[in-house]
């Protein structure tokens, strides 16, 4: 039981690291909390669901297509919304409200288009039979999702630390003002990060029917809060910190579901509040966030 909870928690944790990755990247680069994060994830999930039910395409293929599509959506969306916000008097609060509005728009459109009932994709689509890990058996989908999460985090890591644009991205993360003054095209770097951020949400979304059991248009808000909890547990602006935050969250969730199942829904909310209050710098970070 204990080993099972622990391993399942790690698999889920890797996935939650992926869920929160894009939110963290966008926050790190442009200091904007994308409150529509969970809704982009939901769209990614519906994309996979519809392509699977209508055309019987494997979600893993949809996943690759969605990365391209969401990066391409992210670009114009960034230029439409963010530069105007950053010129305003209080970009942080206004962006929060604006992306909250965007979240409502996406949820409403999804409800109108897909209906409000729950949708799911059978787990066997990703492979047959349970997989054994350390004498414990898990659904294939969990293991596949964990592996994809690792790949995605690895890709972000390589992007940030092994490419030219990634290097510039880190410069913008560390010192936006100085990056501007040294002539880095901050807008372009930010637009790319925005695209990658929501593409990350979409990737997590493709896997969400398997990891969360089902998807609905209204799942976004809860996912956004959970993601926020994960990046707060980890550290802001650091992809590896997000994975650590995800694993801590995933293990805690599994133990809650095993031993206090009826209260497990409370976990993300209480964890978020507790960490913000007790260790406002996150478990692995030291950024100030007090008023």
């Amino acid at each position: 039981m204990l080993e099972y909870s622990l391993l399942a928690g790690i698999l889920f944790g890797l996935y939650f690291g992926l869920v929160a990755l894009g939110l963290n990247l966008i926050f790190g680069v442009m200091k904007i909390v994308n409150l529509a994060h969970g809704d982009f994830l939901m769209l990614g999930g519906y994309g996979a669901y519809i392509v699977f039910t209508d055309f019987h395409v494997n979600p893993l293929i949809t996943l690759l297509v969605e990365i391209v599509i969401f990066v391409l959506i992210g670009f114009p969306l960034y230029y439409l919304l963010v530069p105007r916000l950053q010129a305003s008097r209080d970009p942080e609060m206004l962006s929060l409200i604006l992306f909250f509005g965007l979240s409502q728009v996406i949820e409403a459109l999804a409800t109108l288009r897909f209906g409000s009932s729950e949708r799911s994709i059978p787990g066997t689509v990703l492979g047959d039979g349970p997989i054994s890990l350390f004498q414990q058996t898990f659904p294939v989908a969990w293991v596949v999702s964990g592996a994809i999460s690792l790949l995605a985090v690895g890709a972000i890591y390589i992007y940030l630390y092994r490419t030219r644009i990634g290097q510039l991205t880190r410069a913008v993360m560390a010192q936006r003002e100085e990056a501007l003054s040294t002539g880095i095209d901050v807008q372009r770097i930010s637009a790319i990060a925005f695209g990658i951020g929501i593409a990350g949400a979409a990737v997590a979304g493709v896997l969400s029917p398997f990891m969360m059991g089902s998807i609905t248009p209204s799942m976004g808000v809860g996912i956004t809060i959970t993601s926020f909890a994960v990046i707060v547990i980890g550290s802001l602006g650091n992809p590896l910190g997000t994975v650590a935050g995800g694993i801590i969250y995933g293990v805690a969730l599994m133990f809650m579901q095993t031993y206090f199942s009826s209260w497990a829904n409370l976990l993300p909310y209480l964890l978020l509040i507790a960490i913000l209050l007790v260790k406002p710098t996150g478990l692995f970070g030291r950024r100030m966030r007090n008023a």
Binding site: V33, L35, L81, R84, L85, S88, R89, E92, M93, L94, L96, I97, L98, F100, G101, L102, S103, Q104, V105, I106, E107, A108, L109, T111, L112, S116, V221, G222, I225, F228, A229, S262, W263, N265, L266, P268, Y269, L270, L272, I273, L276, L277, P280, R289, N290, A291
Partner: protein
């Protein structure tokens, strides 16, 4: 002799009192001439919530996405007092309000957080309260997910009256904040908390008082809502869209003013009901778009069309 420091002039106070009296009188008299009392009641609820949000967001800059948590706490505090202890409605309202204030006190540490952290943590807090109230394990006490039914005390006339009184009380708080040095101090905290401290303002005390005042009015109107409708589910009184509506109404009109949130509610909630769309998703779509457009093109609300600096608007 030294002259007294120039206080906010009474000439600013009088128009605000006129607006207060006119709005309250209109809602007190309206049921005699307009038959849809539920619509009037809901309008009052949103006027109170939009102004309550204005108290904390407009004057101190804290945006409580989970503002509905106080509304729900008031509704449940009221209902549980009636159900378990057969408390008379007015006393139960006091208890419901107290529950909301206690919740606000528990959440006071959130005020240490800045901007987005406060907003999201507050949203999480209201979701947590909903999860607790609707948990099946607590059905004996809270009725869990099955909701509340209070037919025995159903009294639309009296509860409508209570709502009108609450509206007057809430508007009076905003008038006070617009015309007192305490209100100016809160806005100074919003502008720059460090400078506010150097102006001699007790920043922590100011924030906490504004927070408790805004929780108080939301809890009170939440209890009255429970009384008026008398049958509801946890999702009804902890519905995130209640927070959204209050935020949109206040923002649309213009925060840190008396007339802004009133205009916001009357115009937007009016349109909402006149159009009478029956699919909630369309509302959500329209309100979401409205938020986006407001932030992009009119971040200080429609009152900023009248005057560039909204601080002069009553």
């Amino acid at each position: 002799m030294r002259r007294l420091a120039v206080r906010p002039a009474p000439k600013r106070l009088i128009p605000m009192l006129v607006i207060l009296v006119a709005v309250v009188a209109a809602f007190a008299a309206a049921p005699r001439v307009y038959s849809n009392q539920l619509l009037l009641f809901n309008t009052i609820v949103y006027l109170v919530l939009a102004q309550g949000l204005n108290i904390i967001y407009g004057f101190t800059g804290y945006l409580p996405f989970g503002y509905v948590g106080f509304f729900g706490a008031g509704a449940y505090g009221f209902s549980l007092a009636v159900l378990h202890w057969h408390t008379p409605p007015l006393a139960a309202l006091a208890l419901g309000t107290l529950v909301a204030i206690i919740l606000a006190l528990i959440l006071t540490p959130l005020l240490r957080l800045s901007g987005a952290y406060f907003a999201v943590a507050n949203l999480a807090a209201s979701e947590a309260v909903l999860q607790i109230v609707s948990n099946p394990n607590l059905t004996d006490f809270t009725k869990g997910p099955y909701g509340i039914s209070l037919e025995k005390i159903y009294n639309p006339t009296l509860s409508y009256g209570a709502a009108v009184v609450t509206l007057a009380f809430t508007l009076a708080i905003v008038v006070y904040l617009k015309s007192s040095r305490f209100g100016l101090a809160l806005q100074a905290i919003r502008e720059d908390p460090i400078s506010a401290g150097m102006a001699g303002v007790n920043v922590v005390r100011g924030r906490v008082l504004a927070w408790l005042m805004s929780a108080l009015v939301a809890g009170l109107i939440g209890g009255i809502f429970a009384w008026y409708v008398s049958v509801f589910y946890p999702e009804t009184v902890f519905d995130l869209s209640v927070s959204i509506f209050a935020i949109v109404f206040a923002l649309f009109g213009g925060t840190a003013t008396l007339v802004g949130p009133i205009l916001g509610v009357l115009i937007l909630y009016g349109i909402y009901n006149v159009i009478g769309i029956s699919t909630p998703a369309y509302f959500q779509l329209i309100y979401g778009l409205l938020i986006v457009l407001l932030i992009l093109f009119l971040p200080n609300g429609i009152v900023s069309l009248i005057d560039r600096g909204t601080r002069r608007v009553p």
